[in-house]
């Protein structure tokens, strides 16, 4: 049997850090645009839509990379609850990366609005126009985005805990640096 890898595959690491930047930007853009009546509202929306679709495309690539490469194992001495928390939070992160763009796309469709990624690039509607469905999807988009932000914070705190307190190589498995 081959030795377990110490690091995530290079492509997995690149996707992780690229998407980390995009998702954090996206969360701030989303929270800022719905809380503003200024011109910022408009240009943030114009960023939010294409960025969301880019995240949707990248997470599909990322999931296929995840399932086709070997993951470095968690340290053998990690308490079981932390192992379970790590697994569960990764499932939540992947699920929300996939679901949030789809919810955004579907809610614009349900509002009967054209789904425009730029002044001329248009996506087809995911669902038919339906006002109460729009309200439901719009609220779900907002609440789940907050859940994603909280999960990202937890993920960040856990990564730093591994890197600074446990010093067990878990953070380095994603940074690619020797620990």
């Amino acid at each position: 049997m081959n030795a377990q890898p110490r690091f995530f595959a290079l492509l997995a690491r690149l996707l992780h850090w690229l998407m980390a930047l995009m998702i954090i930007a996206m969360l701030f853009i989303g929270a800022g645009m719905v809380a503003s009546v200024s011109e910022r509202h408009e240009w943030l929306i114009h960023l939010h839509k294409p960025l969301g679709i880019a995240i949707l495309a990248l997470v599909i690539v990322r999931l296929s990379v995840r399932f086709s490469t070997r993951q470095p194992p968690l340290p053998a001495d990690l308490p079981l609850w932390q192992v379970l928390a790590a697994r569960a939070s990764h499932v939540v992160l992947y699920a929300l990366m996939l679901v949030l763009p789809l919810l955004g796309w579907a809610m614009i469709s349900a509002a009967g609005d054209p789904v425009m990624l730029s002044s001329s690039v248009q996506l087809p509607a995911l669902v038919e126009a339906n006002a109460p469905l729009f309200a439901l999807l719009r609220k779900a988009h907002g609440y789940l985005a907050y859940l994603l932000f909280l999960t990202v914070l937890l993920h960040l705190a856990a990564a730093l805990f591994h890197g600074l307190i446990r010093r067990d190589g878990v953070l380095q498995s994603m940074t690619g640096t020797k620990g």
């Binding site: 030795a3 809380a35 509202h41 002044s119 001329s120 006002a131 446990r166 620990g179």
Partner: protein, 360 residues
Amino acid sequence: MVDHSSPPRPPLSTPSLIARLAGIGAVVAVAAGAFAYVNGTLDPQRLQPKTLVNALETNNGVHPGLRRNHAKGVCVAGYFESSTEARAYSSAQVFSEAKTPVIGRFALPSGNPYAPDSSVPIRSFALQFSQANGQQWRTGMNSMPVFPVGTPEAFYQMLKAGAPDPATGKPNPAGMPAFFAAHPETAPFLAWVKTAKPSASYATETYNGINAFYLVSADGKRQAVRWGVVPQSQDTAGDTVPSGRDFLEKDLVQRLASGPLRWQLNMTLANPGDPLDDASKAWAGEHKVLNAGTLVLQSSQPQADGDCRDINFDPLILPSGIQASNDPLLAARSAAYASSYVRRAGEVSPLHSAPQESKP
């Protein structure tokens, strides 16, 4: 499997452990704090879409399922027939195709759905042009030539000036005069109000887009414009306002029963120096006006289950070939309408899916 990835880890001293934990806490706190600032929690002074919609609800009451502003209205449908005049200025398909289907809505400006039709001299008209390529153009127009104020902040102050006093349940009578006195930009609007009378019909009104936009030609040239629709058949002047509270919808249904109603869509081209970012100011002097085509309305529906009910007439839903100006009211309208829309959309049942038989 052996734990091969862990190098020897000397235990951390207590001060070092505390410092590191505090560092992690600080990173998380800064991220959460930045987020709370951006979403407005730590910035309570910021004017937010919900602040505007809450103010409308305070002034008018909450009427579930209805628009938080322009609450009383009627749906209409028809089409737009383009002329050739706008084609050189805008690449939008609505100007190149012969016909584009339109859904619209006439309304009163207030957020009170029970306002008598004679209570205000303002009527409004919203339109959605559905282009064959799937893009849409939505616009909300009003019968006044200018908006009372030029910024969302001033609009919010105006709403607050008209808010009911909690003690009496009625607005303070000194509130609006004090607001107008403090906001000289309202003068052109007030001058118009003095001469304006509530019309007896939606069909005889001119409706103005008020905010400036750009027409963008196929080769990328931008021309600032303000648009509006002018009725083709003027009524005999001196029409008196009928008695009763709800004559406008009845009048519209009657007129449509005897034939389509027509408006000319005008594009007023900005002269150099015309304000593009201030809807409270008129464009003075001679202007070139394009006749962009004819709007033809054929049918109406009650708004409760009409096709216009679920349309958010967001003025920034624009087709390729029309762009927003930097008028701050446009972004504010777009943001506030979205907030109103999610509230009322959550209060209604789904609209019929098949197009309902519309009244004549």
